[in-house]
């Protein structure tokens, strides 16, 4: 009879297909039974790769103009996709048109995000089918709602656990909330912190889980901890350096913290703040944010071992 279950958690891959492949492979690599993605699957930037009159394909990255031959296009695309970008092969005319049409850019982003999400879901479904590994892909505040339809069609191997309670082996369950509180970027899934608290409390109260055996999967980390520290920004969103030191500030959620302190689950999973990798205790709750290094194709994650009664051990990874 099975006495332990292994769970692997990663978050904030932001479109990096290399990291997603690692995420899916982590199941067999770590002998995990459950994979959980904590949100922010979608990438942030679209790189136009423009076919020039010379026949070369030109693009700019980090402000530097570069070009490749047609035969190197596939390799370039793979490199950009692995780093989380959306490469878009286009013409000078279409690019000019896009520059003056925000709605068209927005639609293009949505299309590419959905396509990338669909590729990922297909990859996970193919690799994990018949493996016994369940994969939870939970959206975060940066994820467009359009990807929810993609996630919805992939059960039972790939499950979107957002906004509900899902059952896990050995009598455990998980409650997920991918929303964040307000950010300066007006992202797709954000609400006031009080509303976030109401969402969490409503979910907990309505499902009445056995809190000793419940895992919280909230994209936002609890405020005022070692796992929610982000660079302090000035009014122009530039990080602040004062007196020779970069300044840091709390960027998590008070509501999440209050919920953890009130309900005291054994384990609470978080992301959102890439810089604040860590595992801390809030009362009896172990709160974990594995951080993110997706731009380098490195998958940061956290491995947990649970038995019927408790969380036995955990390990932060950076593979």
């Amino acid at each position: 009879m099975r006495e332990t279950v292994k769970l692997f958690f990663a978050t904030d891959l932001h479109g990096s297909t290399r990291c997603f492949r690692k995420f899916v492979n982590a199941g067999r690599f770590f002998e995990a039974d459950i994979l959980i993605m904590g949100g922010d699957m979608c990438g942030k930037a679209l790189v136009p790769v423009v076919e020039a009159a010379s026949g070369q394909f030109e693009f700019k990255l980090a402000g530097t103009a570069q070009s490749v031959e047609k035969e190197d296009l596939a390799h370039l695309s793979e490199t950009l996709v692995d780093q989380g970008y959306y490469p878009y092969i286009t013409t000078p005319d279409e690019l000019r048109s896009l520059q003056g049409d925000p709605a068209a850019v927005s639609a293009l982003f949505s299309r590419l995000m959905v396509e990338r999400a669909a590729e990922w879901v297909q990859l996970a479904s193919e690799r994990l089918r018949d493996s016994g590994i369940v994969c939870f892909l939970s959206p975060g505040n940066d994820d467009e709602f359009a990807i929810d339809d993609v996630l919805a069609g992939a059960e039972p191997v790939v499950v979107n656990p957002d906004g509900r309670i899902v059952e896990l082996p050995l009598g455990w369950s998980m409650i997920s909330v991918g929303y964040s509180n307000r950010t300066p970027w007006n992202t797709p899934r954000e609400v006031d912190d009080a509303e976030l608290g109401a969402m969490i409390n409503g979910l907990v109260e309505s499902t009445s889980p056995d809190l000793r055996h419940t895992i919280f999967n909230f994209h936002l980390p609890p405020a005022g901890t070692a796992i929610d520290q982000a660079p302090k920004l000035d009014e122009t969103l530039k990080p602040v350096v004062k007196g020779g030191h970069a300044q840091w500030t709390d960027a998590g959620s008070r509501a999440v913290r209050e919920a953890i302190e009130r309900y005291q689950p054994q384990l609470s999973l978080h992301g959102h703040i890439h810089e604040s990798r860590g595992a801390i205790k809030l009362g009896k709750t172990l709160c974990v944010n594995p951080g993110s290094e997706y731009g380098e194709g490195v998958l940061r994650g956290a491995l947990f071992q649970l038995d019927r009664k408790s969380l036995r051990s955990h390990l932060l990874t950076m593979g």
Partner: protein, 538 residues
């Protein structure tokens, strides 16, 4: 959360200079500039403190050494080390620095040992700095304010213990109750020190040796000639061959003065164009450090003269009964002789004092950050990273840092810790050799990351990756530094089994700590070595 290489804007943002479209997503911030990154690295490098300590320690241990060539050789040596950090930062801007690089590219136990030892050195240096305040930095200020009679008490072992302990307690408290509350004071001190350093350089420039000789006679009742001849009578050698040899050995102190410029690598992910900006910030800090130290050396010799500095230091350390000047011949004290104006003297005195008060808490912050990482990686107990329930501050890490620093303070004052501990530089050389080796193996051990690094990091000389060449040169230079440190008795006393153990202990003990943690977690079903293992991406 922070996204390098991008810019603010919604999807309506035109391409502009960035060449990409960005959408509304968290963390698309305007990044730190290269200049901001440079300020952090250059602040840690700290020219004022580097010169003060190099002139004090090197001239005691290597009489007659000239520090201008020593700093020049150190700068050349560290150029390759700076390149190692710049290239690894460019390839892995978000990894957080040498701990992760060595763990990822060599093996986690070695990465932990390197980081454990560097943390030990940083705290040991904080303890040393805390004792230097009463002995070097407060007496000149007391002199300015007419409190000369206090100097013997402040300089005594009891004075060092009381003042050093108060500082350790103060900074432990600051860490517990919130470093952010100290930010305004730290910022104020930083700019005060920056302005004061410029003032000091200007005064050194406009005062020639005759001006200094006159001031020495007027205020301290001695001439440079009398000090030089007293030193000769006391046995100070004049053989130029010895001085040349000693100048070479003094490179050790040039190197310790320089270290810190690489600190930018710890937060390179926040710098504009993360990969490029972080590397540029490191190289800029190194380059400006070269200018600062070399100009400083030239100005100091221009005003005080090598003979006077070497002779006064020799007398004070080797024949104290023959030393009759009212203050020790350290740079904070000698700065008072650059002007007769009491207000300017006070400003100079405060500049030197504030540079110490600014640098010590940065050691605490650095150590606490590393201890958090060890705890998160399960090498150290989880409770170490617990935060205080009410203040949300890292109370356990703060207390551990404070206790360790206080113990090191006691060792510094009441034992021959610093004289006997062969020298931290010798073991640091081993640590930095390992970082260089990490650079050498990088293209082979993590080909995936290497091939996605910026083009300049992937550059090759023939078929050999440039980073391997840079790593080899850097490694060879650290072997040379280590060799000098380990085989030069005057740096740290005789090389004996006990001195070898005391100097290497803090490095070697890291391995059993790691292995015990690995065994402990293995019993609970987790393999610690998996923390850095790459998951196949195919």
């Amino acid at each position: 959360m922070t996204e390098a290489n991008s810019r603010i804007g919604d999807t309506s943002t035109a391409l502009g200079d960035s060449g990409i479209f960005v959408r509304n997503a968290t963390g698309l911030v305007r990044n730190l500039s290269t200049l901001d990154g440079f300020v952090v690295g250059f602040g840690q490098l700290n020219v004022l403190l580097g010169l003060t300590e190099a002139f004090a320690f090197a001239l005691v241990l290597f009489p007659g050494a000239s520090l201008t060539p020593a700093f020049a050789i150190a700068a050349g040596t560290l150029l390759f080390f700076a390149l190692v950090y710049a290239m690894l930062t460019a390839a892995m801007p978000r990894s957080g620095g040498d701990y992760v690089w060595v763990s990822r590219l060599i093996t986690p136990s070695v990465g932990f040992a390197v980081n454990f030892y560097i943390t030990f050195v940083v705290l040991a240096w904080a303890a040393l700095n805390a004792t230097l305040i009463p002995s070097w930095f407060l007496p000149p200020l007391l002199n300015v304010f007419g409190l000369q009679s206090w100097v013997p008490h402040v300089e005594s072992k009891t004075g060092e213990l009381v003042i050093g302990s108060v500082l350790v307690l103060l900074y432990t408290g600051v860490l517990i109750y919130g470093l952010r509350k100290m930010v305004r004071v730290m910022v104020w001190m930083f700019w005060f020190v920056t302005a004061g350093t410029i003032l000091w350089f200007v005064l050194l420039l406009i005062n020639n040796h005759a001006d200094f000789a006159s001031a020495l006679q007027t205020h301290w009742g001695a001439s440079p000639g009398s000090v030089i001849s007293a030193a000769k009578k006391a046995g100070f050698g004049t053989a130029s061959a010895d001085h040349a040899k000693n100048s070479f050995y003094a490179v050790i102190f040039g190197i310790t003065g320089f270290l810190g410029f690489q600190m930018t690598s710890y937060f390179a992910g926040e710098i504009k164009g993360g990969r490029r900006g972080g590397s540029r910030a490191i190289m800029l800090a190194w380059a400006l450090g070269v200018v600062g130290f070399l100009v400083g050396c030239v100005l100091l010799y221009h005003t005080y003269g090598n003979d006077f500095l070497s002779s006064a230091t020799y007398l004070n350390s080797s024949a104290p009964t023959q030393y009759h000047l009212p203050l020790q011949p350290v740079l904070p004290a000698l700065a008072l002789l650059l002007t007769g104006n009491k207000l300017v003297q006070a400003l100079l005195g405060l500049t030197f004092l504030f540079t110490m008060l600014w640098i010590i808490p940065t050691s605490f912050v650095f150590a606490s950050r590393n201890m958090f990482a060890w705890s998160f990686d399960r090498v150290m107990p989880s409770w170490l990273s617990n935060m205080h329930g009410r203040t949300h501050s890292p109370v356990n890490v703060a207390v551990v840092s404070g206790v360790v620093t206080e113990l090191l303070l006691l060792a510094t004052i009441y034992t021959s810790f610093w004289g006997y501990l062969v020298n931290l530089t010798g073991v640091l050389a081993v640590c930095f050799l390992l970082v260089s080796i990490a650079a050498i193996v990088f293209p082979f051990r993590r080909k995936d990351i290497f091939e996605k690094a910026p083009a300049w990091v992937q550059r090759r000389i023939g078929t050999v990756p440039l980073i391997c060449v840079v790593g080899v040169v850097s490694g060879l230079l650290w072997i040379l530094v280590g060799y000098i440190a380990w085989t030069t008795p005057s740096i740290g006393g005789a090389v004996t089994w006990s001195s070898m153990l005391s100097s290497t202990g803090a490095f070697l003990i890291a391995f059993p700590i790691y292995w015990v943690a690995r065994w402990y977690h293995k019993q609970r079903g987790l393999k610690l070595g998996m923390a850095f293992a790459e998951i196949p991406p195919e």
